[in-house]
Each structure stands twice: as structure tokens, then as C-alpha cells.
Amino acid sequence: MNSNNSSSPRSLQRRSLLGIGALSALSALSLAAPGVWAQAAPGLNNGRLVVVFLRGAYDGLSAFVPYADKDYYALRPNIAIAAPDGTAQTAIKLDKTFALHPALAPLLPLWQQGVLGFVPAAGLPAPNRSHFDAQYQMEIAQSGKTSSAPGWLNTTAGIGRAGAGGAVALGVGEANPAILAGQAAAVRLIPRGQSAERTGVLANDKTRQALMDLYGGDDKLSEAFRQGAGSRMQSAQELTEQRSARAEKMAQDSKRMADRMLDRDGTPANLQALNAQMLAASNGAADPVGLQLDAQHLGTLMRNDRKLRLGFLSAGGWDTHANQGAATGQLANNLGNLARGIAQLRQDFAEPGDVVVVMSEFGRTSAENGTRGTDHGFGNAMWLMGNRVAGGRWHGAWTGLGQLNEGRDLPAHHDYRAVLAQVLRGAFAFGDSQLAEVLPGAKWDKRLDGIFNKA
């Protein structure tokens, strides 16, 4: 089986008319076809981008299950996700090739609405089975480079913003991720979880003043402290307001429901029972936790500060060498947390130019290992979500599990940077020069040209 799901005859014809159809599928960025958005002035104002990085190499073959492939079940006798049969313990059918892990069920509506798609076999240009090395290279978007370099989201944040003040990128959770590190632009970083909502000792005027005086110098440390104090107070205020607005809305909703019931049969409703009912409807999660809470914080802060165009989230715990489970188990739990986070992001990032990318440093071995887990592999699925994404379908090459890289791994048919190039053009109308700056040395991959809908 060798299909290229996104190259419809029409788009091929279009390419030919543009005079580049005869060139090889992989062309240097300078030869890239002028995309539809090339007419829009390139810039961060065209859209917003959120990158969700799954650290530890998530098992894409469990997320997007190639259920029609006999090899899949032969290679994974204990940990394969059963082919769709409509029950909760099996995968959820997407099309004739792939099915979703049941823990990703919250994402099915997004697939059906056509705003969620994926590239099943992308990765580094060459295998690199070190988590840390591979992550770093993906964060600086330069392969084979281990020396210090700026993160590609930082470079992106700096595009067209020479000398401009204020942060353009927001990171939630990590102390200072490499992908956001660099001198091109200021970034804002907030911690995971509820502590992002707290002002701490800065709430006390006298303490705050003393600290601001102590950090009054023009050295790097003092400047960082003053900047941090300002952005922390702002973050805490916005997140707290959002939380109380949500609580108020919930209270109003339950009162409205209670009033309606009262009207209908004249008996007072049990408010407590109603609240419980509403809680159950939201999967028992009164307040989101984990990735979902972080996603909500990201959404709130980026909604309030329109200068913030780039977001970064990460989740760990994907390195499932042993007992990874199947329809249930540790990987399923992690996927469930991820699905809730992505669904939350969809609520806040549904403007026309918004794009969410989910990526991981590499895939895992196609076969299960001796301990019902999987070891470090190569190619993996990258996810894309957004209104402009040609969703409800997957993109790029897929050759099944019959031909494996080094006899063990899913091949990476597409350089992850070629996917990112499509994303940066789709979200920000970046031209060749901006793409070359953010993704040095990357090649445009025409086989991915259908990822974004034509405007």
C-alpha cells in the first residue's frame, strides 16, 4: 500500500500550471510554490500557533491505530488497540486505514468537523534515538546540531518585530524550554497548574516595593525580576477573573435550570442534585486539572493579550518501555489527559488563523518489546488542528508496517520541519525568507501541500 492522501489530481494540476510540477517533490524553500497566503503580508498578526510537545516519545501507533494493517496486530500481540467494533474497548474508526484510541474519543467531533488532521509518518531527517538530543534538535529546528542555538518559536516570535517590546510568546509549565529560548523576542513563562493564578508576596505593597527597590539595577537579574513581577501580577489577575467568571456562569446556569423546573411542575428543584448533575455532564471535572488547566490558562492569557501569538505547552510521561497497556492502562490515561487538553485548546483557539500542532521527538518501535512496552523508534504522527487545516483526513505518505526502518521502526516519510513549514505558512503567511530563518536548511515538501485548505 502506498498512498498519498492529500495530493488530489486537482492540486497537482494547479501545481503544474504554476510551472513547478516537473520539479522533484522536495524542493528548496526558495523554489516553493507561492501559496495562497503569499498575498497576505507575512506576519504573526495573520494567526496564532500553539505547539504541544509530548516529551518522551509518545506511541503514535496507539493514538492513530492502523487497524486495517495485519502487521500491526502481528507486531503487537499484547498491546495493540483492537480494531473498531463500536464498543468502548476498541479503536474508533476514522477511515479505512486509521482509527482513534478510545481514550481520544473527545477528539472525534473535531475530526468529524474537519478541523483535526494528522501526518502519520513524520520525524527527524535521520533516526536519533536519544530523547534529549532529538527533543533539542526539534526545539531548535536544526538536525544534527547539538551546540547552543535559539529555539524556533523564539525565532518565530522575533519575525518582523525588531526592537519591539512585550512578549509575543507564552509558555506554560516548563522553567525555560529550549524551544522558547533565544534573544529574538521576549517570552512569558508561567508555571503549571493553579499556582499560575497566585500573586504571592507581590500582593503586599510594602513587600513588593522593597523587592522592586532591591532589584532596581540595570543588570540582567534585576531586569528579569521586574519584568517577572509585572507579568505575574497581570497573569494572576486575568486567570483569577476568568475563574470567577466561570464559577458565576455555572451558578447562573444551575439557577436557570432550577427555575425552569420550578416553572414546569411547581415543585422546588433540589439545587444540590442539579449541581451534581452538571458536574457529571462535564465528566465530573468541576475544575480542569493537568494539561487541560494549563491549556485553559494559555487560552485565557492569549485571549486577553492579543500581542501573544505563540503558545507552548508540554506533557511528559510518554516513555512507555514497559506495560504500556492498550485500551486502558498508563498510555490510555495519558492520552485521555491529552485529549482533554486538546479539546480545551479548541475552545480558545478557533479563530480562522489559529493552528495547534502536537509533536513528539520520535516514534516508538512498531513491535512491542519483551516487557509489553515499546522502545525508541523513528517516524511518528504529528497532529494539526485549526479552521484552515484540511481536517477529517490524514496527509502525506503512509506505507503501512510492512516496510520498516532498520527492520523495526515506522519510517519518517516527511521531515517534521516540512510539516512546520506548512503550518507557519498556513498560520502566518510566512514566505520563503521567513521560513528559512525559522527552519534553517529545511526543504519544502510538496507532498504535504494539501494540509491547509485553500482560502
Binding site: 533516526p127 504571592g200 522502545d375
Partner: protein, 480 residues
């Protein structure tokens, strides 16, 4: 080492004498410090421990001589068991006892699963009661780390530092179930015991400890079901370093060499070589042939990796990065690597060379405190851990700052550079911790000698109850 009390008189005299030169300091922390000895004392105490103690004037006479003395004292201390408070003795119980309690805990959980209680009751059981033993062992180990990094009467400060360094190099993650009850035992008997010994002894001890065997899944790898996890990280992180020439084939060969290395919980030895699970075919690792020599084969492979020049270079680079500068001077790295090779991995000799190097003392080689550095130094200034609140607050701060105690999930360990930790909002959260800790702390006035005039004068304007917190939250206290 004399206690603070016996030195109180000396201290007062010295402080009076230092008031003059200290007053010449400028407002910036980068400025030339009032005297070379003060700056060198701060550096030695903060890097080869966590913070100066009230006894610091003793070190100030000759920081270099003091540091070398500390090295010998730390080595001697590593040969003795730690002075664990009685309530924490459990974390260093004989391995057999820990293993039996852990087994019992697992049995209880298993039988609870087979006879499930309805809904919430079962969930509550799983969350709390059933794993009380493991949880308390992990909490005890974390508490000990905080006590030992902040109280010279409990632990030699340099030994606490070396323990931190090698734990991070041979990291295990307490969030992985079976690691939890063993993490304290691992820290004390593997890391602390060999922290200034020979590198290959340290590496072998770690390879055979249940905490590592569980953490990187080696305990489950065998000839019929290979798991590459430990073999890969052993080369990538513990010894040679990434991109040092080994291949995926070498990873598999090393994994095959180590098949049969597993845990022995029943007899309490911790480690067991299961002959029957060992791959008995020939293997070639990095061009060298390994036969079927049972457990000796793996030991030989680990010693072979420990002695490679790439390993010497990697260990030297990591030590110089941790103790000297985020981007360590290449000449220093080369010298340390040479000492490592010449002494067959004698870690005390390597540290001696590091302390004697001009680079260690050079003003340009700045280091910024990590959250753990900051917390331990603040606790030390507060006189060490005093109660459970100190422990709870500190562990909470570390977790929120992104450096949870024994909680780094991946085997690379946390980073220690300013690029990682000098982040705007995170800095303000250090102030939260400082002000909280200070509520129960007597003013550590002795620190004033090290602070800039601007810092001292600004803090002096505030009432006593605010001064301690501001001292610990000041920019001067963030560098080491």
C-alpha cells in the same frame, strides 16, 4: 568542625573588622567584592556546600585551604553511615526489610483489586492507605535531602553537594511506583557512599540497585524479551555521552549483555543475576567481543564503559559545568578528564584538581542558583530544617519551580544553568518562599558581610520581621 556557638566570639571580632572593606562595595552584584576572601568564601561555601554558615570566618582565612579540608572531611564522612534522625531511620533500613515491606504492600494492593470495594471506597484505598509505606519512604528520603543540604551538623556540606551531583547524573524518578520505597536507600548506599570514590564502583552500585533496575526497566529485560532502556541511557547519559560513536547495534548488544540483571526482593540482596534469562550468544560492544561469562560479562562491560576516554570527558564536563561555569573553560575540562583517566576514575582526585584550579576561583566564572540551591541555602541560613512545615513548604516550592525533589522524570537529570532557571516570573516565586520561611527565622545577620551596600541599606529600612525574608530574596543571595 566547630559549631557556630564556639565561634560566636571570633565571629563578632571578625565582623567588626570587616565593616570597613565591606562598605566599599558597589550596588551591583557583579561589582568587585569588598575583599577577595569574602568573595572566595561565598563561592566556596555556596558551591562546595550550599551557603556560608555563621562559622564562615574560619573559612575566610584561606578559602582554598578550607575547601581542600572539606574535601577530605567529606570523603571521610562518605565512609561512615549518615547521621539520620531516628524518625528517618527507615529509609536506610536493610534492603531486605524495605523489599519485604514493599512486597507486602504490593500483595495487599493486589488482593484489594481482586475483591473490589464499591466505587469511591476502592479509589480512596488505592489513593491513600494501600501505599502508605512507599509514600512515607519517598517523603522520608526527600526530607533527608533537605536536612542534609542545610545543616552541617547532620551532614558534611560538600558531601551533600556531591550526593546531589551524582544523584542527578544517575537519576531515578520517585514517581515510578517501585522506585519509591528504594530511593532513600539508593541515595545513601549508592550515591553518597561512592560520591568521592571510584567512578566505576559508583556506576556498578547503581546498576545493581533496585531503584535503577526498576527505573530504567532493566529488571524486566531478558533474553526472550529485550528492553533497551537502561542499556541506552547507560551509554548516552551515565558514561560515553550522546554522539560519541556508539550505534543502535551497540545499544542492543549492551542490552543483551545485561540480560538477566534483575532485582531480588525476596532474599533482600536487591540484585540478582538470573542465569536462565541471560542471552548466552556472543556479543560485540564497541568492537569488543563479549562471551558468555554470566554476571561478570555485564560487570566487565560497565567497567569498560567507565574507563573509556569519552566517559572521562563527559564526567569532567558535567563536574565543571556544575561547580565552575555554565559554559566551562575547555582547558579545565581537559585537565579534569586527564586526572579522571590517570587515576582510573578517582572522584576525590578529580574534585581536588577542580578545587585547586584557578578557574574555580575566577570571578568571571559566575553561577546562578538553581531552585534547589536557593532553597537549601535559604534553609541553611535559617539554621536547617526545624519542623514539618519547613519540609512541606520547601518541597512545594521545588515542585512548583520545576525541580521537584527526586522528581525529575527523565534520566538526563535537571539542568543547572542560568539559561534554564533565570526566568522572570519564577524569580518572583523565590521571594514567596523566602518570605514564608523567614516568618519563623531569626535574622541571619552574618550574611550582611557578603551583601552589597545598596542591598544592606535598603533592607535596613524595613522592620525586623521583613528583613530576613528580604535578605533571602535579595539579588545578592541568588548567586553562588
Amino acid at each position: 568542625m566547630p559549631t557556630a556557638k564556639t565561634l560566636a566570639g571570633v565571629l563578632a571580632t571578625l565582623l567588626a573588622g570587616l565593616a570597613g572593606p565591606a562598605a566599599q562595595a558597589e550596588g551591583q552584584t557583579e561589582a568587585i567584592p569588598p575583599t577577595a576572601n569574602l568573595s572566595a568564601t561565598w563561592r566556596a561555601a555556596s558551591r562546595l556546600g550550599y551557603a556560608p554558615t555563621p562559622a564562615w570566618p574560619q573559612a575566610a582565612a584561606s578559602p582554598r585551604a578550607w575547601a581542600l579540608q572539606q574535601l577530605d572531611a567529606a570523603y571521610a564522612a562518605s565512609k561512615r553511615p549518615p547521621t539520620l534522625p531516628a524518625e528517618l531511620a527507615g529509609i536506610n533500613a536493610p534492603l531486605g526489610d524495605i523489599a519485604r515491606s514493599f512486597q507486602a504492600e504490593r500483595e495487599t494492593r493486589r488482593s484489594a483489586r481482586q475483591t473490589p470495594k464499591p466505587g469511591m471506597a476502592a479509589a480512596a484505598d488505592a489513593a491513600a492507605g494501600n501505599e502508605k509505606f512507599s509514600r512515607e519512604m519517598a517523603q522520608g528520603a526527600a526530607a533527608w535531602r533537605l536536612m542534609s543540604c542545610s545543616d552541617p551538623a547532620l551532614e558534611n556540606p560538600l558531601l551533600a553537594r556531591m550526593t546531589e551531583f551524582w544523584f542527578n547524573h544517575l537519576n531515578v524518578f520517585v514517581g515510578k511506583g517501585p522506585v519509591r520505597p528504594f530511593v532513600g536507600h539508593y541515595e545513601i548506599n549508592v550515591i553518597r557512599a561512592h560520591a568521592l570514590g571510584r567512578f566505576e564502583d559508583l556506576l556498578l552500585a547503581s546498576a545493581k540497585h533496585p531503584a535503577m533496575l526498576f527505573y530504567l526497566d532493566q529488571a524486566q529485560s531478558n533474553s526472550r524479551g529485550l528492553n533497551e532502556n537502561y542499556a541506552r541511557e547507560l551509554m548516552e547519559l551515565h558514561t560515553l555521552g550522546v554522539n560519541s560513536g556508539y550505534t543502535q547495534k551497540d545499544v542492543r548488544e549492551l542490552a543483551r549483555i545485561l540480560t538477566g540483571w534483575t532485582v531480588n526482593l525476596k532474599d533482600g540482596e536487591g540484585f540478582r543475576f538470573a542465569e536462565r534469562l541471560h542471552d548466552k550468544e556472543g556479543k560485540v560492544l564497541l568492537g569488543r567481543t563479549f562471551g558468555n561469562e554470566s554476571v561478570a560479562e555485564g560487570e566487565e562491560a560497565i567497567r569498560y564503559l567507565a574507563r573509556r576516554p569519552e566517559t572521562a570527558r563527559r564526567v569532567a564536563t558535567r563536574l565543571a559545568t556544575f561547580f565552575v561555569a555554565d559554559k566551562p573553560p575547555p582547558a579545565l575540562v581537559a585537565r579534569l578528564a586527564a586526572v579522571f583517566t590517570d587515576t582510573q576514575g578517582d572522584l576525590r582526585a578529580v574534585m581536588r584538581s577542580l578545587i585547586e584550579s584557578p578557574e574555580f576561583w575566577a570571578k568571571d566564572n559566575q553561577l546562578f542558583k538553581t531552585p534547589l540551591d536557593f532553597a537549601c541555602s535559604a534553609l541553611a541560613a535559617a539554621g536547617g530544617v526545624r519542623d514539618r512545615r519547613d519540609i512541606g513548604q520547601t518541597l512545594g516550592f521545588l515542585a512548583q519551580a520545576g525541580q521537584p525533589m527526586h522528581g525529575w522524570q527523565t534520566p538526563d537529570g535537571y539542568k543547572t544553568d542560568a539559561n534554564t532557571w533565570l526566568a522572570p516570573e519564577a524569580l518572583t516565586r523565590r521571594a514567596d518562599y523566602a518570605m514564608g520561611l523567614a516568618q519563623r527565622t531569626a535574622e541571619p545577620a552574618y550574611l550582611n558581610a557578603f551583601f552589597s551596600v545598596a542591598t544592606r541599606e535598603r533592607i535596613a529600612q524595613e522592620p525586623a520581621q521583613m528583613r530576613t525574608g528580604l535578605m533571602l530574596a535579595s539579588p545578592d543571595f541568588m548567586r553562588k
